[in-house]
Symmetry: C2
Subunit: 323 residues, 2 copies
Amino acid sequence: MSDVAIGIDVGGTKALAVVVDAGGQVLDELRSGTPHEHDANPGARAAEVVADQVLELCRRQGLDFHEVPIGIGLPGLLRRDGHLAFAPNLQSASGADLGALLRESLGNLSIKVENDANCAALAEHRWGAGRGVDDFVMVTLGTGIGGGVIADGQLVRGRNGFAGEIGHMVVEAHGAPCRCGGHGCWERYASGGGLARLTTLAALGGRLPTLVARAGSAELVRGEDVTAAAGEGLAEARAVVDEMGWWLALGLSNLVAVLDTGHFVIGGGLSQVAEVFLPSTRRYLAELVEGYDDRSPISVVCSSFGGRSGATGAALVAMGNAP
Amino acid sequence: MSDVAIGIDVGGTKALAVVVDAGGQVLDELRSGTPHEHDANPGARAAEVVADQVLELCRRQGLDFHEVPIGIGLPGLLRRDGHLAFAPNLQSASGADLGALLRESLGNLSIKVENDANCAALAEHRWGAGRGVDDFVMVTLGTGIGGGVIADGQLVRGRNGFAGEIGHMVVEAHGAPCRCGGHGCWERYASGGGLARLTTLAALGGRLPTLVARAGSAELVRGEDVTAAAGEGLAEARAVVDEMGWWLALGLSNLVAVLDTGHFVIGGGLSQVAEVFLPSTRRYLAELVEGYDDRSPISVVCSSFGGRSGATGAALVAMGNAP
């Protein structure tokens, strides 16, 4: 096991690079914007951004960029060979092989690529909120919903390496259209993007009169306005958050049905306001899970690494001893 | 590994007991009715039925009922200690410990109990349609939908041993009520019971005029009438079967999202008419799975053991070397 590694979580709008030691401590970090999907050749541009981050962190930490283990976390369907096959929330890089581009530009052969939510699950399992838990699911609530499934202590990868695309479970047949091309996917109801959608529907439906008055029009009320107002106790906002909490519980309940999960670790941007929706989610979970009272208690907790779990897990993957 | 074992699949209306050799061959079998849920003490009555099957098969095969390994497959939430915690489709035995009752009545200590669909998955993995496949899901279509999940060559059991309750994934939020207490569970749309429900709705909605005329009233048209007529090419029946095939594909697609499953083995009573609905299911799967073309081909095949997969797998569990 290497002493330190660099992990980079490449998302739709930014890339977070961290230097992590063998105990999971983040020693340094750097954030950069990722290219817009309409840029020319966004895959190559994304690789340049990441290479610059590696060079800067190596300079600051006195590391050799040819040798330091590097792990990259990416959203979407990532083949075991490192090719990103399909990424509805990262259109910019679909089809690009960031690992290969970086191996070439940095002259570093120890670059590994893994799905971002799988990285997060591995970090939480080794060092965080899933430590010592053999059956848990990492659920990252961002633009969409990502997932990493740990069953019997092992990351479930599946046939192609695409397991954990839990945001694309259909929970409402013929429901809201999704960027993946489907309809009624869980992430259209229970992610940051889902909350934004529920917020717009509630504002247009006259169920958020105070927030619409504040924003000036229904279209301008954002999910962040709702979570902030819910935190302050505004009933109309609490109702929308409660609705999102119900949808979150519904999808978790589906995972319990399939996997008999006893523990969920919630990460991603929306987890920063988890205190406003997790109480609803926990309450609805007890209603929605089949035979809830016959099971060991099901826990739903927040990520230990917050927004750094993907990047930290990518570094763990780079260290080469993730399960 | 024992030379032979007895496996018994105890369902809502009947129990099938088989004698299986170490190569998975069924040497003998026996079917009996199981007690109605309104019988007095149905758990003890079920144990008597099964004990009688064991005694009869041992007599016929010259086996010692004190010594022969015995496995029992049961529907529903089965604790690792053998207690059946919750079984919406086998109300008769909920709460009973059939394993303990049988150990006592037969004086045989080598009795094991496992979820019926897990048994089926293990039998198909060892000897049948899932042989050599590391990531597959066994899907049993009976009154409800049972499941057994094999990931990376191992049966996924989950926290309490309840994994694989795939029929209770919610695919239609606020949908049809289910015996489990929930709403919109997959098995209300895609099992034998689901087909019966879709049939009644179609008959009442005027979409099965020929079959309603044949049966005398909408309420009397059964799922079996629809599959038979669809097999003969009747368009109105084919439409209902196609609808069921779509729902089946929707749930399989959810499993692909979570587990990246590449192979499904379909068992249970409804699989006997799989040729009428599986073509629709395979076609819809290509539409519903995220990134379908970027994956290895997904296969959906019928069980090798048909109605005997649960009982055969229970015998495998009894032999003591199931994964």
